[in-house]
């Protein structure tokens, strides 16, 4: 068994061709696959990280963007700790479909899930259709973190996962600590009660 403190499930979603697979490959394997074929079904990769001394394991589920494979990918939403919604900054329709993605997510996830919005392909300065501030304000409106990346030039890719893992880790450590404190204080309470209640 490998040794880690927490395991987090991360699911990538978004329209077909926005570069989900490229982001994951860049992050997990350090490569930019040229001419990557469309993902069919769901791909699965593992990445181990260490954040502030805590070892964590990321289970990354890279889903197909095409509508016709959607039912399979939906089954992964529920158990996800974090969702990365990706759009392509050079492709207006991929941005316009975001509200629909959010609606779909709401049906399946609980509120604790960390959601992050990623505008990919920011290296395409000429073809850009969605300015940074538009993406950013959309993310703010829907309570998401926002980041622009380029899987091709390896810009900000690490940051998505770092950011996300840090947030998840903070959450998990809080629960972990309160649980421990709870049991501790509970024990103390019982012990002190035993003596002082009655004397």
């Amino acid at each position: 068994m490998d040794d880690y403190k927490f395991l987090f499930k991360v699911v990538l979603i978004g329209e077909a061709g926005v570069g989900k697979t490229c982001l994951v490959r860049r992050f997990c394997q350090g490569v930019f696959p040229i001419g990557q074929a469309a993902t069919i079904g769901v791909d699965f990769l593992i990445k181990n990280l260490e954040i502030n001394g805590d070892k964590i394991k990321l289970q990354i589920w890279d889903t197909a963007g095409q509508e016709r494979f959607r039912t399979i990918t939906q089954s992964y939403y529920r158990s996800a700790n974090a969702i990365i919604i990706v759009y392509d900054v050079s492709n207006q329709p991929s941005f316009d479909r975001l509200p629909e993605w959010l609606r779909e997510l709401k049906q399946h996830i609980n509120e604790k899930v960390v959601v992050i919005l990623v505008g990919n392909k920011c290296d395409l300065t000429e073809g850009r259709e969605i300015p940074y501030h538009i993406g950013e304000s959309f993310a703010q409106r829907h309570n998401m973190k926002f980041i622009e990346t380029s899987a091709k030039e390896s810009a900000n890719v690490e940051q998505i996962f770092q950011e996300l893992s840090t947030t998840l880790l903070k959450q998990a450590n809080q629960i972990f600590e309160t649980n421990r404190k709870d049991t501790k204080t509970l024990k103390n309470d019982i012990q002190s009660n035993k003596i002082y209640n009655c004397c």
């Binding site: 039912t71 399979i72 529920r78 003596i195 209640n197 009655c198 004397c199």
Partner: protein, 741 residues
């Protein structure tokens, strides 16, 4: 010489000298023979040295000579080698030229005789000649040879073009006449005359047309099949397998021919061409399947129904709420369709891979890897596989609906049978879960199975868990809880009894469900490792990861079980035990020895207390499963220990009161130990130590237990010990406070 004395003196000294000389002489004479010997030996050595000197001179001469000789020889060999190289290149050139001549002569002749195989072989030889080097060298040589080469080349180039035209033409003729042997004959000639790719293309077009024809026939049979046919419910799966078998047979039949005539590495192209037709035909069958089985209609209804279940709208009604059981056949057929296309996929992958591995002297492993990636991505994204993947998506939606609806029904019809500790819902639900997972495994599709595992976890963690939670939330009606007491006034005792049974059965249900989840996980783990043996590691990881999510379902259920026992504890166990313990604190514990002895025959507390515990244990024992019984007993023991301790702290003791307590605690531990398979002593460690403290003869005796070699591991802090000792009315408070602990 002056006097005789002087003479005498002189004489004496001379005499002395003579004696000395004599001695020396004697010594030298003695050594003579040794020296002579030495001299002799030196002489003989001298002779041999002279001999050695001569010999070594000879040797050096000889070596010099040999080295010269060797130099000479090697020089000659080198020259010979160069000569040999020239000779062999000369021979090659002569052969090449002879070949060229033979080709030139042979090709015309063969063409005249319409012996296309021979002609093609000549052209093939010509194509494999190193034309440039032949020409290059001819620059320096005479013009006649240059002319000859140019002529030959031209002629052969012409013949090649001619032959290509003829073979193309003849093939087309054979195709028109549907003359298969002729077509196969020319199919083998194509690669010899530099037309490998177009050969494969042409021939696979023909094969595609053949496949098309037979597929058409099958399709026509398919669309007129009616419900009375016994294979009606799986006829589309049957039709697909017919198609796949047909295609597989074609590939199987021509793979050896292609590998023999075209060499290795051409099957990918061939399969690619054939797959086009297979895609067309299979998508046609799948579309017909969707139409005939009204798949889209069903999916739309399911979508509406699940939307309705999420946001119930009373105005909306489903008149045609169809029975999920009707889906059974459809689901089975889809999994069969998927399984068969997986089988077919594996077949073509294997065909291409064996062919790729046949290529000799692969440039690099890297190029093979890229090729393999190309093949995989082609196979996975061909129309057939995409259509199947889409179908599997729809399948998982249907299967999820089927599962959820059946589980809902099982929950509605949940009944408790008299002799069973659990109710029908557990068996029913896990039967459904197993059935659905098994069916998804039949599909052989990794993503479909993963989705199914995910959906199972979701259903168990939501509907199923919620069902139990709703039962436990009501609590265990015991009459001790105020809200329950109010409620119970409006309920008759029969209803209360019923709710008690429901509560306990639910505890058993959860416990059994935890077991079932573990079992399901385990059995499908084995199943998967066998079934998906050939899948890639990442696919296997994917499956196992999804299956492992069932662990978290188990954990959620464990939490729920804990919640249930907490309910039971606060509704039933704690209030009752508290009541019984309170009786202890009203008793007098400052008793004399006489009173202590009297208690022997007339027990004031513990026997009744244990009797009460025993009654409570027995009242629930038969309604709880083995594991829950253990949990219950353990809970009972913990609560007893905690509550009794509280009561003790409210009392004041004499020494005999303490001894009495010690006796009572032992009695209690013995009773509880007899009720369980684990040791109760741990839970009563504090109480046992309290009874030791309270039954001390005097304060000094404490140090037999504290800081002595026989010291026990204290569960009480020094402060607690002081507090407890203060309960002894005969111990002085000041002395107790001054105890050095």
């Amino acid at each position: 010489m002056d006097s005789i004395d002087d003479l005498k003196k002189e004489y004496d000294s001379l005499f002395e000298r003579e004696k000395k000389v004599d001695e020396e002489l004697q010594h030298l004479l003695n050594n003579q023979s040794i020296n002579e010997n030495k001299f002799h030996s030196i002489k003989s050595v001298c002779q041999s040295i002279q001999l050695i000197f001569k010999d070594s001179q000879n040797l050096s001469n000889m070596i010099n000579f040999t080295s010269n000789l060797a130099d000479n020889v090697s020089n000659k060999v080198r020259q010979l080698d160069v000569a040999k190289g020239r000779v062999s290149s000369c021979i090659k050139r002569v052969t090449d030229i002879l070949d060229l001549k033979a080709c030139t002569d042979g090709v015309t002749e063969a063409l005249n005789e319409e012996d296309y195989e021979t002609a093609a072989n000549h052209i093939h030889k010509y194509l494999s000649l190193d034309k440039d080097s032949l020409r290059l060298k001819s620059v320096t040589t005479d013009l006649a040879e240059k002319n000859f080469l140019d002529q030959s080349f031209n002629l052969l180039q012409e013949s090649k073009n001619k032959l290509q035209a003829i073979v193309n033409d003849k093939y087309d003729q054979a195709l028109k006449a549907n003359d298969v042997p002729q077509m196969e004959r020319f199919f083998k000639i194509f690669p010899l005359i530099g037309l490998a790719e177009s050969g494969i293309e042409k021939f696979s077009n023909y094969l595609c047309a053949q496949i098309n024809q037979s597929a058409d026939k099958n399709f026509n049979v398919l669309i007129v099949t009616d419900r009375s046919d016994e294979r009606w419910s799986v006829m589309f799966a049957d039709s697909l397998i017919l198609l796949f078998e047909r295609v597989a047979r074609v590939i199987e039949a021509y793979q050896p021919v292609i590998e023999a005539s075209y060499g290795y590495g051409k099957i990918f192209l061939f399969v690619k061409n054939i797959q086009k037709e297979c895609d067309k035909q299979s998508v046609r069958i799948l579309n017909k399947f969707k139409e005939a089985r009204q798949l889209n209609n069903i999916l739309r209804n399911i979508q509406l129904m699940s939307n309705f279940n999420r946001n119930p709208n009373p105005g909306q009604k489903f008149e045609d709420k169809f029975d999920p059981r009707d889906l059974d056949e459809l689901l089975t057929e889809i999994t069969l369709i998927s399984a068969r296309s997986e089988l077919y996929k594996n077949f073509i992958t294997k065909s291409i891979m064996t062919d790729l591995n046949g290529i000799q002297n692969q440039n690099t492993a890297e190029s093979l890897k890229t090729k393999i990636n190309q093949v995989n991505s082609f196979i996975n994204s061909c129309d057939l596989q995409c259509a199947i993947q889409e179908l599997i998506g729809q399948y998982s939606l249907l299967e999820n609906f089927f599962m959820t609806e059946n589980i809902n029904k099982a929950i509605q019809m949940d009944t408790i049978t008299k002799d069973s500790l659990t109710s029908s819902v557990v068996d029913d639900v896990f039967f459904i879960i197993k059935k659905c997972i098994k069916r998804s495994l039949v599909s052989d599709n990794v993503d479909g199975c993963c989705a199914m595992f995910n959906n199972c976890s979701t259903v168990l963690e939501s509907i199923y868990k919620d069902h139990f939670y709703s039962k436990l939330k009501l609590g265990y009606p015991s009459g001790f809880d105020l809200t329950q007491a109010i409620k119970s006034r409006f309920q008759n005792s029969e209803q209360i009894e019923k709710q008690k049974v429901y509560f306990l059965v639910t505890l058993n249900n959860i416990e059994k469900s935890i077991e079932c989840v573990t079992m399901i996980k385990k059995s499908f783990e084995d199943y998967i490792s066998k079934l998906f043996n050939q899948e890639t590691q990442s696919s296997k990881d994917k499956l196992n990861t999804c299956l492992n999510d069932l662990n978290s379902v188990g954990n959620r259920l464990k939490e729920l079980l804990e919640y249930g026992f907490n309910q039971l504890n606060s509704n039933e166990i704690r209030p009752r035990i508290k009541q019984w313990c309170e009786q202890y604190s009203v008793l007098n514990h400052k008793i004399t020895e006489d009173e202590f002895n009297q208690n022997d025959s007339n027990d004031p507390f513990i026997q009744n207390f244990v009797k009460n515990l025993d009654q409570m244990l027995n009242s629930l024992k038969d309604s709880l499963s083995e594991k829950n019984k253990e949990t219950f007993t353990s809970l009972l023991a913990s609560e007893t220990a905690i509550l009794l301790e509280k009561s003790i702290l409210k009392c004041s003791f004499s020494k005999y009161g303490g001894v009495q307590l010690d006796k009572e605690i032992r009695f209690l531990i013995n009773y509880l130990t007899s009720q369980t398979s684990w040791s109760t002593r741990e839970k009563f460690a504090r109480l046992s130590q309290i009874s030791i403290l309270l039954s001390l003869e005097n304060l000094n005796e404490l140090f037999e237990y504290w800081n002595s070699p026989l010291a026990i591991t204290w569960r009480l802090t020094p402060n607690e010990i002081r507090q407890l000792l203060l309960l002894r009315s005969d111990f002085k408070a000041e002395e107790v406070r001054n105890l050095k602990l």
